[in-house]
Symmetry: C2
Subunit: 291 residues, 2 copies
Amino acid sequence: MTFRRLALIGIGLIGSSLARAARAQGLAEEIVCSTRREATRDTARSLGIVDHAYENPAEAAAGADLVLLCTPVGTYADLSAAIAPVLAPGAILSDVGSVKQAVVRDVGPNVPDGVHFIPGHPIAGTEHSGPESGFAELFQGRWCILTPPPAADPAAVARLRAFWEKVGSQVVEMDPAHHDKVLAITSHLPHLIAYTIVGTATDLEETLRSEVIKYSAGGFRDFTRIAASDPVMWRDIFLDNREAVLEMLGRFSEDLAYLQRAIRWGEGDKLHELFTRTRAIRRGIIEAKQA
Amino acid sequence: MTFRRLALIGIGLIGSSLARAARAQGLAEEIVCSTRREATRDTARSLGIVDHAYENPAEAAAGADLVLLCTPVGTYADLSAAIAPVLAPGAILSDVGSVKQAVVRDVGPNVPDGVHFIPGHPIAGTEHSGPESGFAELFQGRWCILTPPPAADPAAVARLRAFWEKVGSQVVEMDPAHHDKVLAITSHLPHLIAYTIVGTATDLEETLRSEVIKYSAGGFRDFTRIAASDPVMWRDIFLDNREAVLEMLGRFSEDLAYLQRAIRWGEGDKLHELFTRTRAIRRGIIEAKQA
Ligand SMILES: NC(=O)c1ccc[n+]([C@@H]2O[C@H](COP(=O)([O-])OP(=O)(O)OC[C@H]3O[C@@H](n4cnc5c(N)ncnc54)[C@H](OP(=O)(O)O)[C@@H]3O)[C@@H](O)[C@H]2O)c1
Ligand SMILES: NC(=O)c1ccc[n+]([C@@H]2O[C@H](COP(=O)([O-])OP(=O)(O)OC[C@H]3O[C@@H](n4cnc5c(N)ncnc54)[C@H](OP(=O)(O)O)[C@@H]3O)[C@@H](O)[C@H]2O)c1
């Protein structure tokens, strides 16, 4: 057993997948969670993925040697303040949030002395939410990024690393600012664009909109899948990674204007050149087994 | 047998899928193709999906009662001029091109009297190219849009309809301009955006680019799949559906600027409102079984 008591603060897609994977791999003697709504607690209990489901996050965190925040990042400030008094010295406090600088900013000041605060982010997910949508294999073959502060205890980092490796991930360490920059282009901007185009279609006249649904197999439907992700989670991500998202969005908009002009002026060579150049990245992703 | 001789002008993903499906359903006594390169002819022959593979499109079209153009739309003007002299009265000339007004413009003037010209477009595909990537089930459960001219012979339209229904599609008739407008939002704009964001990532500094590949599972990889489609096919589509694509792109850019502003000013309520509103379209697509 890697841990005695694992506390998951939040038990949605990510939290419940971790509960399942940790149970399957025998990574904790006891797995507990807290979650806001009674209905979610009932679901978590009836799925049998936790030993206890509490309303109060402090009750879940009490006595835990690994506490993982698994709620939208906008809730981290309050939740970490709520659990701080019960965190035991030597315990690891980590999270799964999709941004990292804001987590350091919001959680860092609440961490008691002697508690190891090591933020993390599994690069794995689906567009579904809630404990019923999780599965133990979610993290297999996927990366998990940890952003330990420079003074972090190496032994604590090693224990958290081992936990993620045992649920199937490859672990890499990174600076929070660099994490936020990389994720802005690999995840946040794609989601923003997907939400935008689906929004554009939503605003079309009624007849055209029903045809968009009917003939969505030409590419559009893939965007609707991405844009079906949880609204609160994504609102928080964009608010908390503003700078990096706006920077990447600026580059994207310039590039789009370039293609727009090429289409307007019938410059087929420019279109062909870009459409050819983009294939290299796809090949890289297939070779890296992330396709 | 619905047709005596089916001639596929071009035998890539779409042509070869039609050859396989038509053979499987017994829709033609003889299935032939023409294709530009010797290597593609060899592949088509060795796959056993056609009875003859010609270099000269006129040899394939000669004596055919159904001729389907299955090459990039930019080649249609020349190809239709090349086959026009051999098209038999009563034959149906159709196509699978992703735009329809340009096809009417480019092919229409070459169609001999007595030949039934009925443009078509199956809303089905993948990002792969060439005869080896086709499969007989590609069209199953997918829509096929026909854009017969107002004076089209109803019996010929009915025969072509039956052909598409037998390969598994639902057939709908539409005006070419309306087709181009619907496809601009359901297919052309999504591809343009996917190519753009993958291009934006391609231009990043070398170290960041390798990380984009590594951590692409957060959303980006889905865009790279779409942006792996054939460059020539897509160049032709954008050049041939300029007006409708630029119109939808204008709307998209406005909507993106609105979200950009909301992120910059921290207006979480606007983000949340849009992210919630877009879910209805996803539900529609799942209900329409096009997900
Ligand atoms: N989904 C992904 O693809 C993905 C990937 C990597 C990382 N992440 C990160 O993982 C975290 C959780 O995402 P998820 O997909 O697992 O979400 P989810 O399935 O929607 O579950 C969210 C959990 O957080 C709780 N919660 C929501 N709002 C809350 C609030 N205002 N106060 C207290 N608790 C609240 C929910 O409680 P109730 O159900 O009781 O309301 C539920 O337990 C997020 O920080 C996200 O950035 C997500
Ligand atoms: N792919 C999709 O998802 C999809 C979906 C719906 C409709 N469509 C439409 O279907 C058509 C074909 O697409 P596809 O995906 O089947 O393409 P593909 O797999 O790339 O095959 C293209 C075919 O066209 C031939 N060709 C290419 N350039 C040519 C040229 N300059 N002159 C003569 N022949 C040429 C190729 O011949 P060689 O191999 O001998 O060079 C090959 O036989 C396009 O009009 C496209 O708009 C595609």
